[in-house]
């Protein structure tokens, strides 16, 4: 048991280390000397050398890599080349708004898609057609466009919600809905399909014959089976939400990791990009570990094998 846990932790660390190293190599293989990029169009004797010395860019790449790993072990993520602030401060101030957005969108998406599925799975054809049309529109509309449309209606016209910023729950509503809709589309499609499969199973007939009400049957038995594919999609879901958050944050002018990451990549702000990669890898690894545990709760068959 403990051996398995230890292996799991070690392999997680390995994944994190590999992804960060890959990002390090990728960033340094981009064309152009980083000191030149930082100097921009400014040409001044000694400036590039000073910039290189300031950030330790005058050292060889293996040395820079070892420095980076050494700092990482000490828990130091370095300083942003562009914003000139400790990367940990930047992440600390920007992480919560993104997590807040992703969590509320995720929760909303799950509630909505379960609701839609419970109402439509195995029911009248017309209802299902309406639902699948809605789902198709949701998944195929760009997040960007959904955001603008929602803003035009609820912020510019009806003035129910503020246009931008992150103050209070009101400013979270539109971004969360924007980010949730494409996920709702996909989740409810998957969920309905798996629930409809379950509904065809012989044990459903048995349960019905015991006089179970349709509502209890669906929410108590069918849903549990139907949820398994969703858990498998969990990693994808988190990735989609974090990725979509980048665009949503931009449309709504919200603070968050999205803008920071985008700017860091375009300006080759190596320490920030590496930290974001590290964070993303850590989130994925912890989510997948967590999901493995959740499986055990949902599916008792896995507990004994």
């Amino acid at each position: 048991m403990w051996r398995a846990v230890l292996t799991r932790i070690l392999s997680s660390l390995m994944v994190i280390w590999l992804s960060v190293s890959a990002a390090f190599v990728a960033l340094h293989s981009l064309p152009g000397n980083i000191a030149d990029v930082l100097a921009g169009d400014v040409e001044y004797p000694g400036l590039r050398e000073a910039i290189a010395a300031e950030w330790g860019l005058d050292k060889s790449l293996p040395e820079q890599y070892l420095d980076f790993l050494g700092r990482l072990i000490e828990g130091n993520l370095g300083t942003s080349y562009i914003m000139r602030m400790p990367v940990s401060d930047i992440l600390a101030s920007q992480l919560w708004p993104t997590v807040q957005l992703a969590l509320s969108a995720g929760a909303l998406a799950i509630v909505l898609s379960i609701g839609i599925t419970l109402l439509t799975a195995g029911r009248s054809l017309r209802l299902r057609k309406v639902a699948s049309l809605f789902e198709l529109v949701c998944t195929s509309t760009p997040v960007f466009w959904i955001g603008i449309l929602l803003l035009m209606l609820f912020s510019f016209q009806l003035r129910l919600f503020p246009v931008a910023g992150a103050q209070g729950w009101r400013s979270l509503v539109l971004p969360a809905v924007t980010l949730a809709l494409p996920t709702v589309g996909l989740l409810s499609q998957v969920l309905r399909e798996s629930m409809e499969k379950v509904l065809e199973q012989p044990f459903i007939t048995t349960l019905r014959s015991r006089g179970l009400s349709e509502t209890r049957l669906r929410s108590g038995h069918v849903l549990r089976h139907g949820l398994l594919p969703i858990i498998t999609l969990g990693g994808w879901l988190i990735g989609g939400l974090l990725g979509g958050a980048v665009i949503t944050e931009k449309v709504f002018g919200r603070p968050g990791l999205g803008t920071v990451t985008l700017n860091a990549i375009t300006s080759q702000d190596v320490p920030v990009v590496l930290a974001v990669v590290l964070l993303a890898a850590a989130i994925y690894v912890s989510i997948s570990t967590l999901l493995d545990i959740v499986y055990l709760f949902i599916d008792p068959r896995l507990r004994h094998s």
Partner: protein
């Protein structure tokens, strides 16, 4: 010309901008008209009070005036940073923190008499020592301040007396006055400079002498400034002579055009910067709103053709590209007449603009084809491109992704289509990275680089584009000695009137030789509620500035926030 209801002056502004190329007014006239525009619209006595929220396109990545290279950051930085002198639209300078100044005949000594009533907002007096501390700080390469580029010939600052300072140059530099009027050489409190804190991060630690005080910064969201009640040392060109009228200004970062426009039209912000052509009717001539366009004095958006290697070395090929399409048509169809096409890489509202270039080049397809025939590009490949010895006539345009904005990539794509059709020229647009540009610049291997520069003195702008330390720094031994010589001469001619013919010759030669293909003259647009008065643009920044002069109609003050 459609008449605008606001005022006659406003109509004149619009006509200047729309008709800019056909009917060029002198820069002094056109900018003069603009200045009066706001004055005439905003008849009435300013009242103090109220808060304004301003939706801007770009969140500054760095709030340090000496270090930032981001044009849009200066709109925000100007709140807390003042300069020694202020540049006016006609190219002359107005007193600011300096009451008067004097340039020695040899152009080496610049003596400034400072105001004696100025304090930084941390209480430190602004004096000669503060001037010296700032300039020395910027000059020291170890501080890696990008503003150092303005101090290329700076030798030292001498404190003559507490309120008199002498800046000594190693070589004459005609750009010095304009550089000193730039926000990049503005002043931070000596305490701030030595605090050891990194000033890029923004916030109340950034202390200057400006009309507003940096109160708070929420990354990704907003920056808030409050009135500096002691302020009475604005630039000579400002209408306001005392403290700012507004109690506070909050900048909100709203990168999407449509979202900013919606935020203003629904009253959630009072003012926006950056209005896309299709949103202009929402505010221009619209009840309750106003729409203003800034000057276009700095570098125009230009294709710089590297003439030191490849097919670009042939002047006939460069000229064919310059004349092989209709600049007017492509600019108009994309920007719907909101920006004028350019004739030089120096903007039409700049006193240094060479007006004689207007109407002298471009859109001569027959001549462009003849030039290419003469240069030996006579055969065609199966896609219709011209070839010579089996090589296609192709030049790559490397456009770094971080600099792509305002549909400039689409503009180049329409040129790409036009020159393919007109003259069989393969203008190959590649969206690259900042690193790619840095690399090709360092070794001189870039082909065509499309760009505009941060505002600076015209001699410096021309140096950065065409001089031996600019885009050509990697291949300076191959640069055109005539143009490099003229640029050096312009820098050394401290008498700005005597310098103008030299600047004219540089622009003339750059266009004649087709080192540059100027495309359009960009300008800033702002839209605001009509209750906000005396909005203006700063000539040196070529953009909106702080809201020192602005005020809210008394009826709207209470509901402003």
């Amino acid at each position: 010309m459609k008449t605008l209801p606001y005022s006659l002056a406003f109509t004149l502004v619009a006509s200047t901008l729309l008709a800019g190329c056909d009917n060029p007014k002198t820069p002094t006239q056109s900018t003069g008209t603009k200045t009066t525009a706001t004055k005439t619209v905003d008849a009435g006595k300013p009242v103090a009070g109220g808060e304004v929220s301003w939706g801007i396109t770009t969140e500054p990545v760095c709030f340090d005036p000496h270090r930032s290279g981001q044009q849009n950051s200066f709109i925000v930085i100007r709140n807390y940073v003042d300069s020694l002198i202020g540049k006016q639209a006609d190219g002359s300078f107005a007193p600011w923190l300096a009451k008067s100044w004097n340039v020695s005949p040899d152009g080496l000594n610049y003596t400034f008499v400072l105001r004696d009533d100025v304090t930084f907002t941390d209480g430190t007096p602004f004096d000669a020592a503060a001037v010296k501390a700032n300039l020395d700080y910027i000059k020291d390469p170890k501080n890696t301040a990008l503003a150092v580029t303005f101090l290329e010939y700076y030798d030292r600052t001498e404190v003559v007396s507490p309120h008199e300072v002498k800046i000594v140059l190693a070589r004459p530099d005609s750009a010095m006055l304009e550089s000193l009027s730039s926000v990049k050489l503005g002043f931070l409190s000596p305490k701030t400079l030595t605090s050891g804190a990194d000033l890029c991060a923004g916030g109340p630690g950034l202390v200057g002498t400006g009309p507003f005080i940096f109160q708070n910064y929420q990354r990704g969201q907003s920056a808030r400034f409050v009135k500096n009640a002691n302020y009475k040392w604005g630039p000579g060109y400002a209408r306001n002579k005392g403290a700012p009228y507004l109690d506070a200004v909050t900048y909100r970062f709203i990168p999407e055009y449509a979202v900013r426009a919606g935020a203003l039209s629904s009253g959630q912000v009072d003012l926006i910067e950056g209005v896309q052509p299709s949103d202009i009717p929402l505010f221009k001539d619209a009840e309750g709103f106003q729409y203003l366009v800034g000057p276009s004095a700095e570098t125009s958006f230009t294709l710089n053709i590297n003439y030191t290697h490849g097919v670009g070395t042939d002047v006939r090929v460069r000229q064919a590209l310059r004349d092989g399409f209709d600049v007017d048509a492509v600019v108009k169809s994309l920007y719907l007449g909101t920006v004028p096409r350019a004739w030089s890489n120096i903007g039409p509202d700049n006193p240094a603009y060479n007006k004689a270039l207007v109407g002298t080049w471009g859109n001569n397809i027959a001549k462009a084809n003849a030039l290419l025939d003469e240069a030996g590009w006579t055969s065609r490949d199966d896609q219709g491109y011209r070839t010579k010895d089996g090589q296609r006539l192709r030049i790559e345009v490397g456009f770094p992704q971080p600099y792509v904005r305002d549909n400039r990539d689409l503009l180049i794509q329409s040129i790409q289509a036009a020159v393919k059709k007109n003259i069989g020229f393969d203008l190959d647009l590649r969206i690259t990275t900042g690193g790619d540009w840095a690399k090709t610049r360092a070794d001189g291997s870039w082909h065509i680089y499309p760009n505009t520069l941060n505002p600076s003195d015209s001699a410096l702008s021309l140096r950065d584009v065409l001089g031996s330390t600019g885009f050509y720094s990697g291949v300076r031994e191959k640069t055109d000695p005539i143009i490099v010589g003229l640029i050096d001469k312009a820098r050394a001619t401290s008498d700005l009137a005597a310098r103008q013919p030299i600047l004219d010759r540089i622009q003339q030669r750059a266009v004649d030789q087709a080192y540059i293909v100027p495309l359009f003259a960009p300008s800033y647009q702002i839209a605001a509620k009509s209750s906000l008065h005396d909005l203006s643009f700063e000539a040196q920044l070529d953009s909106p500035s702080n809201l020192y002069d602005a005020w809210l109609s008394s009826g709207t003050v209470s509901q402003a926030k």
